[in-house]
Every structure is written in structure tokens, then in C-alpha cells.
């Protein structure tokens, strides 16, 4: 009773809203009906505390206001935004844990909130700060549990496990109880548990949070590989730009529940970074290049300049014409800087 990934030609794919769309997210056609909820407010201090026994003030909070997007099958989309931007809320809506007050959400042809079994069998949600594995028992036993729930046949299960094992190096971990694993090991197992049923759509909420750089790279590489092999659609939120740079061609940036940007990572840099970085190696040491642009660093015969994007060609030409240049490269600024730029607008 395995549930392998269904290729696009199976009957299921006919349910898709269009062959080119795996996910449609339009929870809010007009701003007034956008989802909102009440949070209690309380001031500090004993007096206020006593007052709150009798009366309570609340304010409305809007989780997501103006976010709409579509995702094509096999795409990896990065979700960026500061804490509280609405990233998790969006992922929860997409995986059917929250339902929007209005609008339309469609994932692989299903309305997530209906939590149809076919839908649940084809998606997965991984939350970096929450685990589904049972704390006190060996990982393999928790896997067995999921195997039963998702009706995975033994053959299919072993195949998947072998594959996950090869990619994530789980073999030593499976016999250990979760509580004895390090955070990174636990995350590897969590991800494996979430993929045992070979979901077509992966929602990953901060899958690399708290992990060291090596483990982050590991998980990242795995997700990329999984996406290539199974052409799974991946929606990923992360605080680490490296995750996004490595995996996502397309990014969606949200802030205060509003969509700030949706498009190519390169376009993002193009649009929001007004500067380029020029690194020149000269035959002379300690040249003063402040006339050409802002000097970021100057070490030995290498100088890093920051110049307005529109002047890049101009400055490059002048540098090459006027100075004994050995090598010259033009780079985009680090993506963190670009994102900051987006938020500050």
C-alpha cells in the first residue's frame, strides 16, 4: 500500500488548478476581510495586574494582509522576512493547519483546510522548533509509526530509508532514542521522518535553525538533492541567507504580513541593491582610490570599492584606464545587505 510520488501524468494531477501551478495562495482578495485575531494586552506592575483581573484590553492583529502567489511544480521558493512577518502563518495555512477567513488557497489541487487524506499523504511540514518524533524511543520506531500511518509498503519504505540514509547518513542514529541525539542529528531524523511518504510538496519552517554551519550545509545539500531527484515543490523559510542563496532561485519577501517582493533572487539584488562592489588588484600598494567610490577595505595592493550601480561601468572604465590594474572583479553586495535594504524601504 505504498504511496509513491505521483508523476504529473497520473489522474491526481488533473485536480491541479493548472498544469503549471502546484500552489495557489490568495487568502485575501480585499484588505477588509483579511484574517486577524485578538491578542490580550497588559501593562506591567502590580496595579495593572490587578486591573486585568476585571477588565482586559485587546487589539486586533493581522497575520497576513496582502500576500498572494503561485508556485509551479518542482520549484524551491524561499520565504524571507523578520520574526513575526507572517511566514509561519503562511506555511500553516498552506499545510491546512490554519484556515483563512476569505480567499482561496490551493495546493496540489486541494483546499488545504479540508485536510483531505490524499492531500495529507502528499505534503509534509517540518518545523525546526518542534518535533514529531517521540522523545523517548528509538528513531526507527517512530519511523515505523509513520510507515503505518502513511500506508507505506515494506519495499517502498526500505527503498526510501536507504535513500535517506545515503543522503543524510542516518544509520548510527536510527537505534538511538531521540533524547540522546544532538540538535543537528535530531533535525536530520525529523526531516527523514517527514519524507518517508515521499511527499510532493514540502513546507519547511526554519529547518536549519540553531544548527552549526556544517550541519546547515548538509541539510541544505540534502534538500537540493531531494528536490532534483523527485522534483518536489519546496517552500522554505529561513533566517539564514545561505540557505536561500544555495537553494532558492525564487524568493518571496514578506514583512508585517505584506508581500514586499516575489521573484528571482538575482532580480531582487538587481532591484534593491543600489550598489556594486568592485575589487581591484593593483601593481602599486596603498593607492588612494577614494575619488572613484567608497573605499570599503584597502589591504596591500587590493582595494574594495563600493559604487552606485549606475556608475559601475563608468568607474570600471576609469580604473582600467588610469591605474595599473592586475585584476578587477565586480560583485553584488552580500544578500543580507540587500534584504535589509528591502525592509528599510
Amino acid at each position: 500500500m505504498g504511496h509513491p510520488i505521483l508523476p504529473p501524468s497520473t489522474p491526481h494531477s488533473q485536480k491541479l488548478t493548472s498544469p503549471q501551478t502546484h500552489i495557489t495562495f490568495r487568502p485575501c482578495p480585499t484588505p477588509p476581510t483579511s484574517p486577524s485575531y485578538e491578542v490580550p494586552q497588559r501593562e506591567p506592575g502590580l496595579g495593572a495586574a490587578i486591573k486585568s483581573l476585571v477588565s482586559r484590553t485587546t487589539r486586533d492583529v493581522e497575520a497576513v494582509k496582502n500576500i498572494t502567489f503561485d508556485v509551479a511544480p518542482g520549484e524551491i521558493v524561499g520565504f524571507l522576512g523578520p520574526n513575526g512577518a507572517g511566514k509561519t502563518t503562511t506555511l500553516k495555512m498552506l499545510s491546512g493547519l490554519l484556515h483563512p477567513t476569505a480567499g482561496e488557497i490551493s495546493v496540489i489541487g486541494h483546499t488545504p483546510y479540508a485536510r483531505h487524506k490524499d492531500f495529507l499523504n502528499r505534503i509534509t511540514l517540518v518545523m525546526g522548533q518542534r518535533n514529531q518524533l517521540m522523545w523517548d524511543i528509538p528513531v526507527a520506531d517512530s519511523f515505523e509509526r509513520n510507515r503505518a500511518i502513511y500506508r507505506i509498503s515494506h519495499g517502498e519504505y526500505n527503498k526510501t530509508l536507504d535513500e535517506l540514509n545515503a543522503l543524510l547518513d542516518l544509520s548510527d542514529l536510527l537505534s538511538k532514542p531521540v533524547r540522546n541525539l544532538s540538535l543537528g542529528e535530531r533535525m536530520k531524523c525529523e526531516i527523514a521522518a517527514a519524507l518517508l511518504h515521499r511527499p510532493q510538496v514540502l513546507f519547511l519552517d526554519e529547518p536549519t535553525i540553531g544548527l552549526d554551519v556544517t550541519m546547515q550545509r548538509r541539510i541544505r545539500a540534502f534538500l537540493g538533492e531531494y528536490n532534483r531527484r523527485h522534483s518536489a515543490t519546496v517552500l522554505l523559510t529561513s533566517h539564514y541567507m545561505a540557505d536561500v542563496e544555495a537553494l532558492c532561485k525564487r524568493v518571496i519577501i514578506i514583512h508585517h504580513g505584506e508581500l514586499l517582493f516575489d521573484g528571482d533572487l538575482n532580480t531582487l539584488i538587481e532591484r534593491f541593491s543600489p550598489h556594486k562592489t568592485i575589487v581591484v588588484d593593483l601593481e602599486v600598494e596603498r593607492a588612494d582610490l577614494s575619488a572613484y567610490g567608497d573605499v570599503v577595505t584597502a589591504e596591500g595592493n587590493s582595494v574594495t570599492l563600493r559604487v552606485p550601480k549606475t556608475k559601475t561601468a563608468d568607474v570600471t572604465g576609469k580604473l582600467l584606464a588610469n591605474l595599473p590594474v592586475i585584476d578587477l572583479t565586480v560583485e553584488d553586495p552580500p544578500i543580507e545587505e540587500v534584504i535589509e535594504q528591502v525592509f528599510s524601504n
Binding site: R42, L46, A49, I50, S52, L53, R56
Partner: protein
């Protein structure tokens, strides 16, 4: 003075904590009234079939119920939450913060958590006790009152020392927070006079889990049943347990700092 001030501050913090969830007050009020109602209804059912139970009349058992609720309230307000907190702190390694304070660690640990609303149980318990005494026509003299106060204090100290020793075990064994629940379960037996239970159970409730000294003995003092033997045993056991639990605590601390160093 310093210690009194600390107690006051911890109470104030307890109040602030409780205020953060105002519903707790009503929940606790409801729970306390429910358990009082349950207890009285239970008494009514039993005494609809008899006039005395093991030599105790209904009104004496009502007084016993008052003591039961009063002591239970004290345990629930300070002792139980503080001891659980201590065990959590040791397990999570944040007990170090307590040790670095310029104050006796046992004292700090013993009042670290205060569930203030359990005061409702204390007040209800005292109310029931006083009501029972008034119903009996306030027939107790100063000698009985003094004896009652004495065995209530010694009983309370016995209970506290017992809890402290259970909690102190955490310095050697990390994952035993459930051990405190042994007491909670056994405490329920205290709502009836210990004397009615079979020998083996009476023995357990007197010396293994000293519920008898905290509830039955004080209630005996009020109804003129207290024997000099009980009075002296209670006093001696109190001194013994307070000293031994303090010693045990120090041993535990030594083990703790030895292991974490």
C-alpha cells in the same frame, strides 16, 4: 528581618505571577469549593449510615477535614511547587543561580515558588475547623489549644522535612520528579482518621509517609484524644527530621557541586 523581607518579596512575585492569568483565581476558587463540597458530601453519605467512625463523631471528622485542607493548602502553596522547582532547576542546571546568591540555599529553594491562590484552601480549611469548633460549643481550653498549635507546627515541620529529603534526592538522581507524587497520593488517606486503617497501612502513613502527624494528631488534640505519647513522639520526630533533612541537604549540595565542578 532579611528573611522575612525575602518571604514578603516572594509572596509579592507569587501574586504578580498569578495575576497574569486572572482565570486561575476563579479556577482555584471553584476547585477548592468543589473539593470541600465533595468531602462534606462524602462525610454526609458515610454518616447517613452510622453515628461514629472508629470512635470519631461526624463533627470531629469535620474538624479533621479542616486540618486536612489547611495543611494541604500550605503544602500546595509553598512546599510542593518549590520542591518541584528545585528538582527542575537541578536537572536543567539553573540551580547554580540559587547557589550564587548570598543567602541560605535551603531557605531560598524552599520558598522559590508560591502558588498564591492555594491560600483559598488554607482559608477554607481554617473556616471549616473554626465552624466545627463553634458547633461543638468552643469546648476547648487553653491546654488543648496550645497542644493543637504545638502538634500542628511539629506536624508541618515533619511534612516539610520529609518533602525536602525527597527533593534532595535529586542531587544524586536526576530524573525522579515523580517521587513527589508519592506523597500527594498518600496524603488523600489523611482525610479519614489514621486509626481506622489496617495495621500495615497505618504504619506506612505514620512513619514512611508521615501524614498522621500532620493531620490526625492535630485533630486529635482538638477533640481531646491526644495522648502524651503522640505529643512527645511528634515533637521528637520533628526535631529529628529537621536535623536529618538539613544534614541530608548539605550532603546533597556537596555532591552537586562536586559533580558540576
Amino acid at each position: 528581618m532579611y528573611y522575612l523581607k525575602l518571604i514578603w518579596i516572594f509572596f509579592r512575585i507569587g501574586l504578580l505571577n498569578e495575576m497574569a492569568y486572572r482565570v486561575n483565581f476563579y479556577v482555584q476558587l471553584l476547585q477548592s469549593l468543589l473539593s470541600l463540597g465533595t468531602a462534606i458530601a462524602g462525610l454526609a453519605i458515610v454518616f447517613s449510615h452510622t453515628d461514629t467512625l472508629g470512635g470519631w463523631e461526624a463533627i470531629d471528622i469535620l474538624a479533621l477535614l479542616g486540618v486536612f485542607m489547611f495543611v494541604g493548602g500550605v503544602i500546595g502553596m509553598v512546599i510542593s511547587p518549590s520542591m518541584s522547582q528545585l528538582m527542575d532547576d537541578v536537572r536543567l542546571g539553573i540551580f547554580d543561580y540559587t547557589l550564587t546568591k548570598p543567602c541560605d540555599a535551603q531557605f531560598l529553594a524552599s520558598i522559590s515558588q508560591i502558588r498564591l491562590w492555594r491560600i483559598i484552601d488554607i482559608l477554607l480549611g481554617a473556616g471549616v475547623l473554626i465552624a466545627a469548633l463553634i458547633y461543638r460549643g468552643l469546648d476547648i481550653g487553653p491546654r488543648e489549644a496550645l497542644a493543637f498549635a504545638f502538634v500542628l507546627c511539629t506536624g508541618g515541620s515533619i511534612i516539610y522535612s520529609f518533602w525536602l529529603m525527597l527533593a534532595t534526592l535529586t542531587f544524586w538522581f536526576l530524573r525522579i520528579e515523580n517521587i513527589l507524587h508519592i506523597f500527594q497520593s498518600m496524603y488523600e488517606a489523611g482525610r479519614w482518621p489514621i486509626g481506622i486503617y489496617p495495621h500495615w497501612l497505618r504504619y506506612i502513613l505514620t512513619f514512611l509517609v508521615p501524614v498522621a502527624f500532620a493531620i490526625t494528631v492535630p485533630a486529635e488534640a482538638l477533640s481531646g484524644r491526644l495522648t502524651p505519647d503522640s505529643l512527645i513522639t511528634s515533637g521528637l520526630l520533628c526535631v529529628f527530621l529537621v536535623v536529618i533533612s538539613r544534614w541530608f541537604w548539605k550532603r546533597g549540595l556537596k555532591n552537586y557541586s562536586g559533580a558540576s565542578a
